[in-house]
Structure formats: C-alpha cells, structure tokens
Symmetry: C2
Subunit: 270 residues, 2 copies
C-alpha cells in the first residue's frame, strides 16, 4: 500500500476534498492531482489539504499540447505551461506530466520539433520552480491529435535532445504495453535517470471508446505484474499511480470502486 497513488480523475465524481478524505481513510498515501480538480481551492490550499490528510502529491496532470500550425498559438501554449508549472510548485508536486500534442496538417516530425522547442522554452521556468517535466508517451492511436510522442524510445530521444535534469518520462502501461522493446526501454530510461512516474490501468477487450473506456487493473490484456516487475528491477521505488478514465466506472459507487482499486492493485499489479 505504501506505493499506491490514485489520480483525482480516476474518481472524477469526487471533489478533491472528498477524494483526499476517502483515499486517506482507505490507507492510500499518494495522490496525483488533475488541474481541473483543484478549484475552488487555490493550488497552495489543495496542497495543504492533501498534506494535512497525510498524503503526498505525486504529480500535477497535465501540461503539454505544444504543437500548432500558428506560431502565436504555440507561444500561448508555452505561457499556459508556465502557469501549470507555477501551480505544481504551489501544490507541492515534484513534476508536471506532459501530454505533448500533435496537430493534423503537419507531419509528426514537425510536431515533435515543436514539442522539443516548447519544452526547451519552459526549462528555465521549471528549473527556477524546482518542478520537473515528465513526458508521457501516448499510445499510437493518439498520434493524430494528442501526441506525436508515442513510444518510450521517442520520449528518450526527446529527453536526450533536451539534456536537462528537469526533464524525464512518465511511463503509463495503457500507452506502452504493446511495445515489444518495453523491458529494455524502461531499463534504459531508468539508467538515464529519466523514469519519473509509473501509471497503471488495463486495456479492455474490446475497447469501445478512444478516451474513456480504460479498465481497472485485471480487467484487460495488459500484463501488469510483469511490467511492474520490470519497473522495479530498474530500481524505481516511486509511487504506482492508478489513472483510469472510464465512463462506466465513474457511473459506479465511488466508495465501492475505491475498494476495488485497492484489491485490483494487490491482485494484479504488485
């Protein structure tokens, strides 16, 4: 239990105050906060609320979406990411997870270039705030519109080109489980001090929605225990974050769901 972290979006019907109270009562010690869950609190208030309940903040989700056809839009995105970094600092989150973005009408290579430039522009601000940026490779089914960074190998290439201690990777099983080089990529990322976060959920068969049909661990095809063993073998000892977007599970009683998350974490992840 000491490594279990839950994303506020996983129990989306709950306010952050309810989530913190219920997670704490269930023995959960870590929380990842989604930006839209903070209001009506300020980030500093939310951080205090979390710590007052004995929890620690793992990450703030999420920044990113750097590419755009128009330069002015790209500049706006960088400004928005600066605000996100400030929120993370106020909240007490050691890193911001980045969903990097992709823009139809330009090549994935061009989007990756704009992502690199965007993150590079943020680095001084991140360094000053003491907040790291965790690039999350997204499943190739999101290459059309959500991220041009779709594999661990691409995320590592991006990190190498940025060459900053303030950039790393958030590895989410949902996005990368199919990769036949995954064990090796996790090992390399950890060796390069890039492995900042580890997210779990499951891939339902069939999956019926591109965004909101993720499975609870054990409900799908991802070999979670094997992947967790690979992650542990790299020396990663950080939180294991449950991040599930599911219209089906959001419709259920969230107290029962929270119990099921804990059971599924024990039975299928660690």
């Amino acid at each position: 239990m000491h490594r279990l972290c839950i994303h506020t979006i996983t129990t989306k019907p709950w306010s952050i105050a309810e989530a913190v109270r219920n997670y704490a009562a269930a023995g959960v010690r870590h929380i990842t906060v989604w930006r839209d869950a903070i209001a009506p609190h300020t980030p500093a208030e939310a951080g205090k609320l979390i710590r007052d309940h004995g929890l620690s903040v793992t990450s703030l989700c999420r920044g990113g979406f750097f590419p755009a056809l128009a330069a002015a839009v790209r500049v706006k995105a960088i400004d928005e990411n600066r605000r996100c970094i400030d929120e993370a600092a106020a909240l007490g989150a050691p890193h911001v997870v980045l969903v990097c973005g992709a823009t139809p009408g330009q090549s994935l290579a061009e989007s990756r270039k704009q992502i690199t430039d965007g993150i590079a522009a943020l680095l001084p601000h991140a360094a000053a705030a003491g907040v790291k940026l965790a690039i999350e490779p997204l499943h190739p089914m999101y290459a059309g519109d959500r991220s041009a960074v779709n594999t661990m190998a691409q995320a590592r290439t991006l990190c190498r080109s940025l060459a900053s201690p303030h950039v790393g990777i958030a590895a989410d099983t949902y996005h990368i489980w199919w990769d036949d080089d995954l064990e090796n990529q996790l090992t390399l990322a950890a060796r390069e001090n890039l492995l900042l976060a580890y997210h779990v959920c499951d891939w339902r068969v069939p999956t019926t929605d591109f965004l909101n049909d993720r499975g609870l661990m054990g409900e799908g095809a991802i070999p979670l225990r094997a992947i967790t063993a690979w992650v542990n073998r790299t020396g990663y000892t950080g939180p294991i974050e449950v991040e599930i977007f599911s219209t089906r599970l959001w419709a259920a009683d969230q107290h029962v769901f929270l119990k099921n998350i804990i059971t599924a974490y024990r039975d299928h992840v660690i």
Copy 2:
C-alpha cells in the same frame, strides 16, 4: 489509374458482381476480394467474373487469427487458413492477407510464437498452391485482440524466422503511419523481397470507432503522398489498394463514393 486497386469491403453494400462491373466501368483495373464477398459464386467463378471484366485479383482478404489458449482451436485455425489458401488459388489471387490474431490471457510474445508456428504449418500448402502469405502488421490499438504483430519491424522479424519465399508483408498506412522508422522499414522490407502489398486510407481526427471509422484518403492525418513516395522508391510497382471500413461511407451512394475514391487517389495518394 493503372495501379489503383479497391477492396470489395470498401464498397461493402455492392455484391461482387456489382463491384466488378462498376470498378471496370470507372477504369479501375485491380480488385482485392474479401472472403465473405465471394458467395453466392464459387471462388473460381468469382475469379472468372473479375477477369472477364478486365480486372486482376490483387489479394484475398483474409486469413490468420492463429493464437488461442487451446491447442485444438489453433489446429482449427490452421485448417481454416488452408481453405483460405485454396480459395485464393481458385480465385487467382497471388496472396492471402493475414490478420495474425492475439489472445487475451496470454502474452503478446506467446501469441507471436503461435502465429509463427501457425504460418510455418501452412507453408507447404501455400507453396503447393502457389499462393503467398502476406502478414499485415496491425495498429497497436489492435494488440489486445486482433494482432500481436503491430509494426513493420515485428513483421520482418516474423518473416525472417520463417525464411520462406512464400511469406511477405502487406503494408497498410492505417496501421503503420505513426511509426517514425517507417521509411527505413519499408526500404528494408523491399530489400528483403517482403513487400507484397500496399494499402491506403486515412486516419480521421477524431476517430470514433475502433474498426469502422476509417477515412477516405485526404480526410485525415496520414501523409499518404510521402508514404507512397517511400514505397515507390523501394522499387515496389504493384497495385495501391484502397481499403476503407466506414459505416459513414458505406451509408453513402456507392457510385458517388467510387468517384470520390478515384479523385482522392489522384489528389492525395500518387
């Protein structure tokens, strides 16, 4: 126009007789036949019908689905693939496209082993029939249940391990467009005499269905002209096959759709 090929499933509302007549009238010279489009004809009758209209058969779609938890089910799959090879021979199709399969409850590596064993078991039959087997790498979003072969690199590895002149690859832009090593992989596949087929369609943004929301070329995010140029540069001079599964486009007037396919092929593919 001399390279344009259309899959019967692209104009699914048409019988094979209607498809052949309408394709021929529009100047289309190649057709890929889906197995369920053959009835009420025999494969030999369908082949004659196609040739009588001046078209040639590019492929038969599709065999595969080799993995299963039970050995008896895997044996059945091999038998079914033998029938598929026989149909291709009778139809006059030089190859059968394989959607290789994946089974929840076992690792992707185990599914790939069963795929390798299944294809190996078919090779004598394929050789005797003079029919090649074209492995189609499927998008990683199908790794849960439709194929454990998700990249050109994996398909090449599979072909190398089988080491047979009767095995190759069907490269479909829908499945592989996101791969940042695609140009290189196409070049290598052609150099290894593995590039048997080239399929085109587009990736809609957003895509709303995992199977039947493909786009007409030009409607989405795939850089089709660039990929076709890579394919041509490998020396591939075969048909360019339009394979679109789309509830939306099947609901439209198929005569208008056929005209749109030809326009889109000229404007966005070649």
